[in-house]
C-alpha cells in the first residue's frame, strides 16, 4: 500500500500540518499509515490533553494524604489502616449521544477498569448527568437510554451506584453529559502501577477479543483497507459487564501474585496507549505482534488492531519464567491470557504483524512530547449582558407558595427516584446513606471508617462566571461531604466544555480551572486526577461550561454518619452561615422568570472552610441529627427536602437577607442561593454544643426553629411566607420528574 500523506488524510486523523511536521521530526522519517494512526490517537485531545495540560498543571495535587496524584490510571488518598481510597471520574459524553445505552454503559465499564487496574476493589459509583429539557422525544430517549445503560453495567458487575446529580437545560439537548465517578479501596502497599519493567518480560493480553469498535478511522476511505471490509463500521462499542466482572475478579487475584509486574487497561486508544504508556513509565519499550492479538473479526489490519477501542481488555507484564502462575489464575475464571509481546530495552513501541515490522515509534514522542497549546482566550461577548440582573424588571413577585410548587416540580429539584431506583445502590452491603436521605456514604469494611462522596457542578453559574462557578462547585461538593460528617480529603474533576479553539470557550476553561485551583487550595483538598471533555458542541451551539467536581471525604467513625432526614419532632433547627439571598443564576430565576442571568453566589472560601470543619466536628461529637446544605432552590428547598422522607414538619424563621428592601425580599430569603450556608438539625440536647463549636470556628449560627408537626412552615423575619402540608409538597416533588419525562 503506497501512502500519500495529504491534507485530507491528516484531516481525517485530526492532525494539523504543523503536528505532522513534528511527527516527521520525532521519527526522523515519514510515518507509514499505521504509525500515523498511532500518533493521531495519542496526540488526540482525549489522550494528550494538548489544549488543557498547561492549565491543569496549576491545580494543587499534593497533600499529606495523597498516595497517588494525577498521571496514573486513578488517584489515591490515604484513609488510614494502611488503606487508600482510589478514585477518578470519567466522561462518556459523545458516545452517550450516539447510542445512549451502550455509550453510558461503556463509560461505567471504563472508569471501573481504571480503578481495579490500580489494585483497588471498586466499592461505589456516582454519576453526574446533564440533559436537555425533558419534554422532547430525543431527550427522553437519551435519558432513558443513559440511565438504563448505567444501571445495566453497574448492576451487573455488582458495584453500587450510590448517588449522583442530574440537571436539565436546553444547552445540553444535543450534547448530553455523562460523567461517572468510581471509588475503590486498596492497600497502600499493594497499589499497582502501569509499568513495563524488566527487559525480556513477556507482555500479555487478556479479556475480550479485539474488533473494529471505536476506530476513529471509521471515516477513512475504505479503499485504504482491503475492499472486503467496506461495510460502514459502527464506532459504537458494546459493553460486556459479565466479561468485566470476570476480569475484575481475576485481575484482583493476579495482583496478589508478585509474578505480576505491571498492568493497564485498554481504554481510549486501546493497545496503542497501553503499550506506549507502560513502556514510557518504566523507561523501557514494548514490542508486540498484532497477529497474536485475539480478534473477533477477520481481516483486521495492524492499523485497526492498534487503534481499536474494544472494551474489557487488559495488558499485563509478567515476570519471565512465572507466566504459568498468572495464566492459571485467568484460566480459573475462564479467561485466556495470551502472550503478544515482550518488554524491550529501547524506549520504543515496536509493532510487528506476523513478524513483519509495521511500526516503530519512540515512546517519549507519543506519551510526553505531544504538542501542547496555550490557546488564545477572550472575554465572551455575552458576559456583560448576562451578568446584569435588574430585579425591578422582573415585575410582580409571585406568591411564595407558587414559587415553592414550581421549584419542587422543576426536574432539577424534583426527586430523582425514577433514576436511582434503577440502580442497585445497596449491593456489597456498605451503603450507609440511601439516595434522597443525604450525602452518599459507604462504610469501609474491616475498619471503623466510612467514605462520603459528592459530585457537583452548576453549568449556569459557570456560564455567568466560570471562575466563581467553579469555586462554587468545589465548595458545594466539599460542603456536601461535610454535611455527612466527613472531612474532605481529595477531589477529582471532569471538565466539560465546548470547542477550545474558540477563544471565548478557552477563556471559560481557563477561568474555571483557576476557580477550582483557588477553592481546592483554600479548602486544602488536593486534586488527584480528572478528565477533560472538550468539543461538546453541536452546530456551533456549545454547552454551558460545566466543570464537575467529585469530592471524597473521610468519616473516622462510621456510626456517626449524618444524613439529611428529620426523624424526630422537637429538635432545634440551626442556620449556619449568612445567607446572601441573591437570585443571580438561581433555579428560581430560571423556573419563575425563564432567566439565566446575574452573578452567581460568591464563595467566601475561608468561611466555607470553617463551615466544613464545623459540620464534620459536630457530627463527630454526635450532636447532629441531620444536616443539609442549601444549593439549588435555596434554603426553602433545602428545608423542605429534609421533611419528605418521614413527613415530620418544621416551623422555622429565616432571616431576611441583608440588603435593600425590595419586593423580592421574601423570595430572596426563601429561594436565593448562597454558598457557605447549611441547615443543621441538632440532636436531642445537642444545640448548645453545635452553637459553641460554631462560635469557636467563627461560623455565624442561630436557632431558627424546630422540627415537628406535619407542615412546612417557613417564615421570613417572623412573617409566615409558606405554610403547607408536608405531604402535599412531597407529592409534588415525588411525581414531577416522571411526569415531565412522560413515564408516569
Amino acid at each position: 500500500m503506497t501512502l500519500t500523506i495529504d491534507a485530507a488524510l491528516l484531516d481525517r486523523h485530526g492532525l494539523t500540518a504543523e503536528e505532522y511536521e513534528r511527527i516527521v521530526t520525532a521519527m526522523g522519517r515519514t510515518p507509514n499509515l499505521t504509525e500515523l494512526g498511532i500518533y493521531s490517537v495519542m496526540w488526540s485531545e482525549h489522550c494528550s490533553y494538548k489544549s488543557s495540560k498547561i492549565h491543569l498543571k496549576t491545580l494543587p495535587t499534593t497533600g499529606p494524604r495523597v498516595v497517588q496524584g494525577p498521571g496514573e490510571n486513578a488517584g489515591a488518598v490515604d484513609i488510614g489502616d494502611g488503606l487508600a481510597a482510589v478514585f477518578k471520574i470519567e466522561s462518556h459524553n459523545h458516545p452517550s449521544f450516539i447510542e445512549p445505552y451502550q455509550g453510558a454503559a461503556t463509560g461505567v465499564g471504563g472508569i471501573i477498569r481504571d480503578i481495579f487496574t490500580m489494585g483497588a476493589r471498586p466499592i461505589a459509583l456516582l454519576n453526574s448527568l446533564r440533559f436537555g429539557e425533558p419534554d422532547t422525544p430525543l431527550t427522553r430517549r437519551i435519558v432513558s437510554g443513559v440511565v438504563s445503560g448505567i444501571a445495566g453495567y453497574g448492576n451487573s458487575i455488582g458495584i453500587p451506584t450510590i448517588g449522583g446529580e442530574v440537571m436539565f437545560d436546553d444547552c445540553y439537548a444535543g450534547n448530553p453529559l455523562v460523567n461517572v465517578l468510581c471509588l475503590g479501596v486498596a492497600h497502600v502497599s499493594e497499589i499497582v502501577k502501569g509499568r513495563a519493567d524488566g527487559v525480556g518480560n513477556p507482555v500479555y493480553y487478556v479479556g475480550a477479543k479485539t474488533g473494529r469498535d471505536g476506530i476513529h478511522g471509521a471515516t477513512m476511505a475504505s479503499a485504504e483497507f482491503d475492499e472486503s471490509s467496506s461495510e460502514k463500521r459502527p464506532a459504537v462499542q458494546v459493553g460486556d459487564p459479565f466479561m468485566e466482572k470476570l476480569l475484575l475478579e481475576a485481575c484482583l487475584e493476579v495482583m496478589k501474585n508478585d509474578a505480576l509486574v505491571g498492568i493497564q487497561d485498554m481504554g481510549a486508544a486501546g493497545l496503542t496507549c497501553s503499550t506506549s504508556e507502560m513502556g514510557a513509565r518504566a523507561g523501557t519499550g514494548v514490542e508486540i505482534d498484532t497477529a497474536l492479538v485475539p480478534q473477533r473479526e477477520t481481516g483486521m489490519t495492524p492499523y485497526e488492531i492498534m487503534l481499536s477501542e474494544s472494551q474489557e481488555r487488559m495488558l499485563l507484564v509478567v515476570t519471565l519464567g512465572r507466566e504459568h502462575e498468572i495464566e492459571a489464575i485467568f484460566e480459573k475464571w475462564d479467561l485466556h491470557a495470551v502472550r503478544i509481546g515482550t518488554v524491550i530495552e529501547e524506549p520504543i513501541l515496536r509493532v510487528r504483524h506476523h513478524g513483519e515490522l509495521v511500526a516503530e515509534i519512540p515512546n517519549g514522542s507519543l506519551v510526553d512530547e505531544a504538542p501542547l497549546y496555550d490557546r488564545p482566550t477572550q472575554l465572551p461577548a455575552y458576559l456583560g449582558e448576562a451578568q446584569s440582573l435588574d430585579i425591578a424588571s422582573l415585575g410582580v413577585p409571585p406568591a411564595p407558595v407558587a414559587a415553592l410548587d414550581a421549584l419542587l416540580a422543576s426536574p432539577n429539584i424534583a426527586s430523582k427516584r425514577w433514576i436511582y431506583r434503577q440502580y442497585d445502590h445497596m449491593v456489597r452491603t456498605n451503603t450507609l446513606t440511601l439516595p434522597d436521605a443525604g450525602t452518599p456514604c459507604v462504610r469501609v469494611k474491616g475498619t471503623p471508617r466510612a467514605v462520603a462522596m459528592s459530585v457537583d457542578g452548576n453549568g449556569r453559574y459557570c456560564y455567568l462566571d466560570p471562575r466563581e462557578g467553579a469555586r462554587a462547585a468545589v465548595a458545594e461538593a466539599a460542603r456536601n461531604v461535610a454535611c455527612a460528617g466527613a472531612r474532605p480529603i481529595g477531589a477529582t474533576n471532569n471538565l466539560n466544555f465546548a470547542n477550545p479553539q474558540r477563544p471565548e470557550i478557552m477563556w471559560q476553561f481557563v477561568e474555571s480551572v483557576r476557580g477550582i485551583g483557588d477553592a481546592c487550595r483554600a479548602l486544602g483538598i488536593p486534586i488527584t486526577g480528572g478528565n477533560v471533555s472538550l468539543y461538546n458542541e453541536t452546530e456551533g451551539r456549545g454547552i454551558y461550561p460545566t466543570p464537575v467536581l467529585g469530592v471524597v471525604g473521610l468519616i473516622d467513625d462510621a456510626s456517626r454518619t449524618v444524613g439529611g432526614v428529620i426523624r424526630e419532632a422537637g429538635l432545634d433547627v440551626i442556620l449556619l452561615g449568612t445567607p446572601a439571598g441573591d437570585l443571580g443564576g438561581s433555579e428560581y430565576l430560571r423556573v419563575m422568570h425563564g432567566l439565566v442571568r446575574g452573578r452567581p453566589p460568591r464563595v467566601d472560601l475561608d468561611r466555607e472552610r470553617a463551615l466544613c470543619a464545623l459540620l464534620a466536628d459536630a457530627a463527630h461529637d454526635g450532636v447532629v441529627h441531620a444536616a443539609q446544605d442549601a444549593s439549588d432552590g435555596g434554603l426553602a428547598i433545602a428545608m423542605a427536602e429534609c421533611t419528605f422522607a418521614t413527613g415530620i414538619g418544621v416551623d422555622i424563621d429565616l432571616p431576611a437577607p441583608n440588603q435593600a428592601h425590595d419586593a423580592f425580599l421574601t423570595l430572596r430569603a426563601l429561594f436565593g442561593e448562597t454558598a457557605g450556608v447549611a441547615l443543621v438539625v441538632a440532636a436531642h440536647n445537642g444545640t448548645g454544643a453545635v452553637l459553641a463549636r460554631a462560635n469557636d470556628l467563627g461560623v455565624p449560627a442561630r436557632v431558627i426553629g424546630r422540627t415537628g408537626g406535619e407542615r412546612l412552615r417557613l417564615r421570613v423575619n417572623g412573617q409566615v411566607a409558606i405554610d403547607e402540608p408536608v405531604a402535599r409538597c412531597a407529592a409534588t416533588w415525588r411525581g414531577a420528574l416522571e411526569a415531565r419525562l412522560g413515564v408516569a
Binding site: 448492576n155 431506583r421 440502580y423 445497596m426 456510626s559
Partner: protein, 234 residues
C-alpha cells in the same frame, strides 16, 4: 455450623451473604466455586444474588448447568436446606429445584428499593423463627422478578403452602400497589414440596444490620441456624 456460598461467574452478592453469615452471625462460612463438585460439608447452602453469566440469555439459564448444581441437587434431595436469593432463586427455577419461571418486571425496569414482605409460612428452615404473618422490611434489586407459574402449578403451590413470602404493604396487606414487579399472587418467595429449598427475590443478606437501614433479614439466617443446630433435618 457452616454455610456454603456458591460462586458462579457473575455472582455479585456472594460476599454479602458470606459477610452476613460469617461476620454478622459469627458462623462458619465458605465460598464454593461453581466448578466444584462437593459442598465441603456445609450445613446450609446459599445461592447468592448477582448476574451469573451476565444474566445473558435468561436469568439463571446458564448457571444451572454449572457442575456444582449437581451437588446442590443431591444435597437438597437429602433434605439439606438451600436458600436461593434473587439470582440464586432464578437459578433454582431454571434448574427445576423450584417450580415456575421469572419474567421481566412489569414496569420493565430494574428496581432497587426496600419493600415489605409478609411471611406466609413458618414451616421452612428459613422462616421457622418468624412470627406467622409477620412483616419484614427487606430490599429488592432485580429486573426480572416477576414470578410466573401456570394456573395448575400455582394452585398446587398455594394449596400446599409453598408460597412463603408475599409482597405487602407496611401493614401487611397484600395489594397491587405493594407489588414491585407484577409477580402472580404477589409472590416474593416459594419453597419446594419438601420445604427445604427456598427461593426469594428480596435480599435478606442486605438487611442484617441496622446501619444499612434494616435488620429484618437476620431472622432468616437465625432460622437456618436453629434448624441445623436443633438437628431438625431428618
Amino acid at each position: 455450623m457452616k454455610f456454603a456460598v456458591v460462586v458462579f461467574p457473575g455472582s455479585n452478592c456472594d460476599h454479602d451473604a458470606y459477610h452476613a453469615a460469617k461476620h454478622v452471625l459469627g458462623q462458619e462460612a465458605e465460598f464454593v466455586w461453581h466448578k466444584d463438585t462437593d459442598l465441603r460439608g456445609a450445613d446450609v447452602v446459599i445461592l447468592p444474588g448477582g448476574f451469573s453469566y451476565g444474566d445473558y440469555l435468561r436469568t439463571g439459564a446458564i448457571a444451572r448447568y454449572s457442575p456444582v448444581m449437581q451437588a446442590v441437587a443431591a444435597f437438597s434431595a437429602t433434605g439439606g436446606p438451600v436458600l436461593g436469593i434473587c439470582n440464586g432463586f432464578q437459578v433454582l427455577l431454571e434448574a427445576g429445584l423450584l417450580e415456575g419461571a421469572m419474567l421481566r418486571n412489569a414496569r420493565l425496569k430494574f428496581n432497587c428499593e426496600h419493600v415489605h414482605l409478609r411471611v406466609e409460612q413458618t414451616t421452612t428452615p428459613f422462616t421457622a423463627r418468624c412470627a406467622p404473618g409477620s412483616v419484614l422490611r427487606i430490599p429488592v434489586a432485580h429486573g426480572e422478578g416477576n414470578y410466573f407459574a401456570d394456573p395448575v402449578t400455582l394452585q398446587r403451590l398455594e394449596a400446599n403452602g409453598q408460597v412463603i413470602f408475599r409482597y405487602c404493604t407496611a401493614a401487611g396487606e397484600i395489594a397491587d400497589a405493594a407489588n414491585p414487579n407484577g409477580s402472580l399472587h404477589n409472590i416474593a418467595g416459594i419453597c419446594n414440596a419438601t420445604r427445604n429449598v427456598v427461593g426469594l427475590m428480596p435480599h435478606p443478606e442486605r438487611a442484617c444490620e441496622t446501619a444499612l437501614g434494616s435488620a429484618d433479614g437476620l431472622v432468616m439466617f437465625e432460622s437456618a441456624i436453629d434448624y441445623v443446630t436443633a438437628g431438625a433435618r431428618a
